[in-house]
């Protein structure tokens, strides 16, 4: 049986979460692997959340916000846009694979886009296999 990843999704309330709702009202089918957590703005997403999710066993983390220029709070998504590459640097330093954490812009009207992103991400993470974090920490405990 194929490995089914668990992905934590952090979605901004105004664009992406609404976009995800739209996918629902339009009955667009997509992979059930993403568990969505709603925040008011992508700017609220503290890198700690991402690390915490990975620590707690998430196989991937998906971050979605409004398209640049469309932020409900005028510039919140730019704050995420600045944070993201630095977070990726940190994750790379910790040896987390590129594809496990992803930032995407999804507007309130892009239900289909959200579905596509979820499907694509699920595919990529499935290909990577289970997150190494939980196992590694378990191994550490075991070696003593």
């Amino acid at each position: 049986m194929t490995f089914e990843p668990t992905i934590v999704g952090f979605l901004c309330n105004w664009c992406s979460y609404t976009g995800a709702d739209l996918a629902g009202t339009s009955r667009i089918q997509y992979a059930p692997n993403v568990r969505v957590i709603r925040v008011m703005c992508s700017a609220r997403i503290d890198p700690t959340f991402v690390l915490k999710a990975l620590h707690d066993g998430a196989d991937g983390v998906l971050i979605c916000g409004c398209h640049p220029g469309d932020c409900h709070y005028s510039e919140g998504n730019y704050k995420m846009m600045r944070r993201y590459p630095l977070l990726k640097k940190l994750l790379a330093d910790y040896g987390i694979e590129e594809d496990r954490v992803r930032l995407e812009w999804v507007s309130a009207s892009e239900g289909q886009r959200f579905a596509n992103i979820v499907n694509d991400m699920t595919e990529r993470v499935r290909a990577l296999g289970p997150s190494p974090v939980k196992m590694a920490l378990a191994r550490d405990m075991a070696e003593r």
């Binding site: 668990t6 009202t25 089918q29 957590i37 008011m40 700017a43 609220r44 709070y73 005028s74």
Partner: protein, 573 residues
């Protein structure tokens, strides 16, 4: 805090949820979660009986937290919050799990969908356990309004507000009212006099008991928050400076535009060729009643060049929206002034989108205006004509409709200079804490649904300071702004959401990372205490500062780290 008693309700939503998600399984799974006192399914939670069930359970089992796993919180969160309130529980002790839009409607496999529904519900239960009671507060709404700019927009907004009884302060930099419209002769498409229109406005404004017109004045600072601004105004009436501070509840920014400086486009020879003039210089001639070349004669050929500074890569990519009809207006006015004059109209596209515009366009071609179409960024070139020519200048155009490169004679060339944001747009934006787009036009709160408000509550924009507009659009926006303000004045008080960010001053180290992050300038730095703090009335709870605060001194009410950590643990458990 007495022990947790969480009620969990799983909505079947008829079959919308139940047909894909095994609701009973979700109920069973959640009933064993820490703190859960009641867990049950129901056909339609949003129905009255559904809400009643929650109220009853709260009364009977003394529930102090409620989780509803149903549709999107964007749909029914208010509904269930009311139910909690009704039962005497703080409405913020509710958390919803979205198992319809984001589960049953998008998945078909029953097992995985049920598993996901369980995870989402679990997350909600863990989260709600960490919820805190929050209170909405209301602040007073000051009935006075500050209007920046005494143009047609500012005056129109001011009159509506003043007629309704509110006090209005119009702050105008110039020594007269009227703004750019005062520089115009007739208006398109009906060719009625701008002057008459303005006189009516100005007289009413000046004579209005509720309007203070402050000429030769500028706003120095605007402090406070929606409903409670203090504006410092500096007047320099012929030399002597006087300051005053006024209390206002709202601000209408109607600072208008400035025309594009034709000198910046070299190949039109503006400033070198004496008879190349801007649209505003022509307006001046027309208002003066004599149309003539610098040499003093009546022109035999007049050429009008569109999109000067607009719709090109070099200067502004946007369309200035009013020039096309203004150009047609000139065609009519010129023919009226010099009947045997040949008018050629050199344009990119004819934008005749407004009421009566298309007919006006038709009428203009009927008076034999020669329309010549040129390609964007392929500017016509104006040169001095030779001695043999019967004209002052020759304009070379790569004419699109014929595919020919032609030379059109002209004695007078009118450059339709586009609209530009004022040089000090960014300062004004900073003054009232709104933002500018790449062209330095003020940004509205929502391009379609809220084009009048801004991201800063209580600050409204009207007229061409937002984007090029003609008179009707500007007036409409101004009066819309007035209506928005009046609605609030009528209520007298403003509800401020209970969800906002707070700085724990015992933890704030005054590093000031958060200071420039807030789009609403809700964060103030106290130089004395060397601490930052949030003006809750201004805060819109985006959480940017919360995530950025390096010492976790800022908490986002209802979106605390603890609550989100709990959710993460919940979905992953």
């Amino acid at each position: 805090m007495d022990e947790l008693k969480i009620g969990v309700y799983i909505c079947n939503c008829g079959t919308n949820i139940a047909k894909v998600v095994d609701c009973d399984a979700v109920v069973e799974a959640s009933s064993s979660l820490p703190g859960v006192a009641v867990a049950q399914p129901y056909q339609y939670m949003c129905s009255n009986p559904g809400q009643e069930m929650i109220v009853a359970d709260i009364k009977e089992h003394g529930l102090n937290r409620v989780v509803v796993a149903a549709c999107s919180p964007r749909m029914h969160e208010p509904t269930f919050r009311k139910a909690l309130q009704k039962a005497g529980v703080n409405p913020y002790f509710l958390e919803m799990a979205n198992i319809r839009e984001q589960c049953s409607w998008v998945h078909h496999d029953r097992d995985t969908a049920t598993e996901k529904a369980m995870a989402l519900t679990r997350a909600a239960v863990l989260r709600v356990a960490r919820h805190e009671p929050l209170e909405r507060r209301s602040v007073d709404m000051c009935p006075n309004t500050l209007v920046l700019g005494g143009g047609i927009s500012g005056m129109s907004g001011a009159l509506d507000l003043a007629d309704a009884g509110g006090k209005v302060y119009i702050v105008e930099r110039e020594n007269h009212l009227g703004g750019n419209v005062a520089r115009v002769d007739l208006t398109a498409p009906y060719l009625d006099s701008a002057h008459d229109m303005l006189t009516e406005r100005i007289t009413r404004v000046v004579e209005h008991p509720n309007i203070d017109v402050l000429l030769e004045s500028e706003v120095e600072s605007v402090e406070g928050f929606v409903g409670n601004f203090q504006a410092r105004i500096r007047s320099k009436v012929d030399g002597d400076v006087s300051d005053q501070t006024v209390d206002v509840g709202s601000v209408i920014v109607a600072t208008g535009y400035k025309e594009f400086d034709a000198g910046r486009i070299t190949h039109y020879g503006y400033g070198k060729l004496p008879n190349v003039i801007t649209s505003f210089e022509l307006e001046k001639m027309l208002r003066g009643g004599r149309l003539e070349t610098k040499e003093g004669g009546a022109p035999q050929y007049v050429a009008i060049v569109h999109c000067v500074g607009s719709r090109n890569l070099e200067f502004h990519t946007y369309c200035s929206r009013v020039c096309c009809m203004t150009a047609l207006k000139y065609a009519h006015e010129i023919k009226a002034a010099v009947p045997d004059c040949y008018v050629s109209d050199i344009y990119i596209d004819m934008h005749a989108f407004g009421k009566g515009h298309e007919d006006f366009y038709r009428r203009s071609s009927e008076v034999k205006t020669l329309f010549l179409m040129y390609e964007k960024n392929d500017y016509p070139v104006i040169r001095k004509a030779g001695p043999k020519d019967d004209c002052e200048m020759l304009i070379e155009v790569n004419e699109k409709l014929s595919g020919e490169t032609i030379e059109i004679p002209a004695d007078l060339v009118v450059l339709m200079v586009g609209m530009e944001a004022r040089d000090d747009a960014e300062e004004v934006a900073r003054l009232v804490n709104i933002s500018c787009d790449k062209d330095r036009w003020f940004i509205e709160s929502h391009p379609k649904l809220d084009p009048v408000a801004t991201t800063t509550d209580g600050i409204f924009i009207a007229g061409a300071c937002q984007y090029p507009k003609d008179i009707p659009d500007s007036v409409a926006q101004a009066r819309a702004a007035a209506a928005r303000i009046l609605a609030r004045i009528a209520r007298g008080k403003l509800e401020v959401d209970a969800v906002f960010a707070e700085v724990d001053e015992d933890r704030c180290s005054g590093c000031r990372i958060c200071n420039q992050l807030c789009p609403y300038a809700a964060i103030e730095y106290d130089g004395e205490k060397r601490r930052s703090h949030v003006i809750s009335a201004l805060c819109k709870a985006c959480g940017a500062c919360v995530a950025a605060c390096p010492s976790s001194a800022i908490t986002a009410r209802h979106f605390t780290d603890a609550q989100i950590f709990a959710q993460i643990e919940g979905v992953l458990a």
